[in-house]
């Protein structure tokens, strides 16, 4: 991907509450036209960071710059935002809800264009309170796109959606990416980040603990592949083999550089392999590797 000038820069952001430091010295830059992911478990500081970037929360210290200047009126005109939770005005249809927000911006897309972009045509006349979770998120995305934003913030956009609605939403985000929009995405779904993000920053306890392109981060931390076996099918005898074992709740994982050699050892030890799964390391594994703990989703 060609390097481009950062559209957003975050400098040494701190957000201090009376009993907790939610964000503790976070800095990063987001190149224009990329999808930047803030990853981490609940309580990591992702939403606080993104809300400071959006201008919703004032930071205790630090600065957010948009196109090289402190984020101000221009930023508000050119940013689209999808909050984790948003209620809309009662008794408005989908079209009226979109039109309300269109009226708040000087420039933007036509209401019908946004409705079509988010596949809401058939729902345009429906009361916004009578939408399913996935439809509601599509409406909120439409509202976030109504000003044809240069930068779009998506805060945990698929939390609570069923798998199909989640995948439909990802397709929408892919289509927005194709329009060369800059996207800031927070999520605790590693699959989502791996699929959508060009660059990620993993947060834990208010700090960034790793940052870079997902594949680069994975290759930096994992040269191995992972073999997964159901725990009940892994005999105790096989634990004496010289293998790098990771015990997960319902399975045993074997991390190895030498796939052929490891398979031979397992066959010789008569370990049943009918439910064996071989997979490359993913961001979930990376988080485990970096923090020593599973995601607290």
């Amino acid at each position: 991907m060609p390097e481009s000038a950062p559209i957003l820069e975050v400098h040494d952001l701190v957000k201090q509450y009376p009993s907790v430091t939610a964000v503790n010295g976070v800095s990063f830059a987001v190149p224009e036209g990329t999808c930047f992911g803030l990853l981490g478990p609940n309580g990591a500081g992702k939403t606080t960071t993104i809300e400071i970037m959006e201008g919703i929360l004032p930071p205790t210290s630090g600065e957010v710059r948009y196109r090289g200047e402190p984020a101000g009126a221009r930023f508000r005109e050119e940013a689209g935002i999808l909050f984790q939770k948003t209620a809309l005005q009662d008794f408005l249809t989908v079209r009226q809800s979109v039109a309300l927000f269109r009226g708040l911006y000087e420039h933007g897309l036509e209401v019908d264009e946004v409705i079509e972009l988010c596949a809401l045509e058939k729902l345009a006349g429906r009361d916004n309170r009578k939408l399913s979770g996935g439809q509601q998120q599509r409406l909120l995305l439409a509202i976030a796109l109504v000003n044809d934003p240069k930068v779009i913030f998506l805060d945990e956009p698929t939390t609570g959606l069923d798998p199909q609605a989640r995948r439909n939403f990802w397709q929408l985000v892919e289509s927005i990416k194709a329009r060369r929009k800059t996207i800031i995405l927070t999520t605790h779904y590693m699959e989502e980040a791996q699929l959508l993000c060009d660059e990620i920053a993993i947060m834990d306890r208010g700090r960034i603990i790793a940052q870079g392109a997902p594949q680069r981060l994975l290759s930096e931390h994992f040269a191995e592949v992972l073999l997964e076996l159901p725990r009940h099918e892994f005999p105790d005898l096989a634990r004496s083999l010289s293998l790098k074992l990771i015990d997960a709740s319902d399975r045993v994982e074997i991390s190895t550089h030498d796939l052929d050699g490891t398979l031979r050892k397992l066959i010789e030890a008569r370990v049943p392999l009918r439910n064996l799964r071989i997979r490359p390391a993913n961001l979930e594994d990376l988080f485990l590797e970096l923090t020593g703990k599973e995601l607290r989703a």
Partner: protein, 331 residues
């Protein structure tokens, strides 16, 4: 069932007790009301009737208890006050004793009986000009009170709901400013209230056969300015808080004194001077005073200009304060 009931009872109590501003307000409001009422209505028993006295002299009526006697030097002024039910009776003490009473006034009827019992020779005089029936006198106050409730509660609770649901937070992420948001709320409510007030005016006026003595256009201007001031006042309450109970309490704290002291139901001319001074601060008082002047006396714009200026100025002050103290989100 009892366990479930207790669980919900306990949780609700915790919610209430931990909402400190509301708890404090719930405790302080009744204390404040009792102290305030004590100041206003406390002390020795208050007069029930107000009698205007022309001239000087002795009369057995002057020894009656619970009657407040007000010296009036100008008969025309006294007659005006009788016809407008500001006083219940006007008595000229010069021999032969004469009196004027508004035949539509219930209190006038009773005090007349008292006067004739004390001085059977007193002569009743016809009230010159149109006596104002109580229902006509009440009409502007009722309309204005309806406006007040709609202004304060209609806007206050809506903004509070927007804040609690997160809708305000979403609006905050757009170029919309607090002043623009508040102004839009004011204008939206204003159009509704003006429409409702006009409809109510037409229906009630037809029902009680009322005809305004003054300009309808002037009344419309007064309705607009009065509504603006009271909507803006409601917004100052809703600008910051996120608790229904607290906002409800604060709105009640505003509406009750206005309802009692603004002269909706009765004239407060016999109340202590400081009470009248406090009442004059209420936008509702200004609206009612001006509305009665236009509707009953046929007053023109010159006479009610001070009321209009006061309403416009308070609108600006309330809106500016509301925008300054406005919170988009629940802290």
């Amino acid at each position: 069932m009892m366990r479930r009931l207790l669980a919900v009872w306990h949780a609700r109590n915790l919610e209430f007790l931990r909402d400190r501003p509301t708890l404090l307000f719930t405790l302080l409001l009744p204390i404040g009301v009792v102290i305030g009422m004590g100041f206003i209505f406390g002390g020795p028993p208050r007069p029930i009737f107000t009698v205007g006295i022309l001239g000087t002299g002795a009369n057995p009526l002057l020894h009656e208890r619970y009657v407040q006697f007000t010296s009036i030097h100008d008969r025309a002024r006294g007659l005006y006050e009788v016809t407008h039910q500001k006083i219940d009776l006007l008595v000229d003490l010069q021999n032969p004793v004469r009196y004027w009473v508004n035949t539509d006034s219930a209190k006038g009827y009773i005090i007349e009986k008292l006067l004739l019992a004390a001085d059977p020779g007193a002569r009743r005089q016809p009230v010159t000009g149109q006596a104002i029936p109580y229902v006509d006198w009440l009409f502007p106050g009722i309309l204005a009170m309806n406006m007040m409730f709609s202004c304060l509660f209609g806007v206050g609770y809506v903004v509070l709901r927007y804040r609690k649901s997160g809708f305000l937070k979403r609006l905050h992420a757009t170029p919309l400013s607090a002043f623009e948001f508040l102004t839009a709320q004011v204008l939206s409510r204003l159009s509704l209230i003006v429409f409702v007030t006009v409809v109510l005016y037409i229906i009630i006026a037809a029902f009680i056969h009322f005809h305004s003595a003054g300009s309808i256009a002037l009344l419309l201007l007064l309705t607009v300015l009065g509504s603006l001031s009271m909507i803006a006042l409601g917004l100052t309450i809703a600008a910051r808080f996120a608790s229904e109970e607290l906002v409800g309490g604060l709105l009640n704290l505003l509406t009750w004194p206005m309802m009692l002291l603004s002269g909706v139901w009765f004239s407060i001319e016999s109340a202590p001077r400081w009470v009248q001074w406090v009442a004059d601060l209420f936008p509702l008082t200004q609206v009612i005073q001006a509305a009665r002047a236009v509707m009953l006396d046929g007053a023109g714009i010159q006479r009610i200009t001070p009321n209009l200026i006061y309403l416009a100025a308070t609108t600006l002050v309330f809106l500016a304060f509301g925008a300054w103290s406005f919170r988009w989100r629940v802290d």
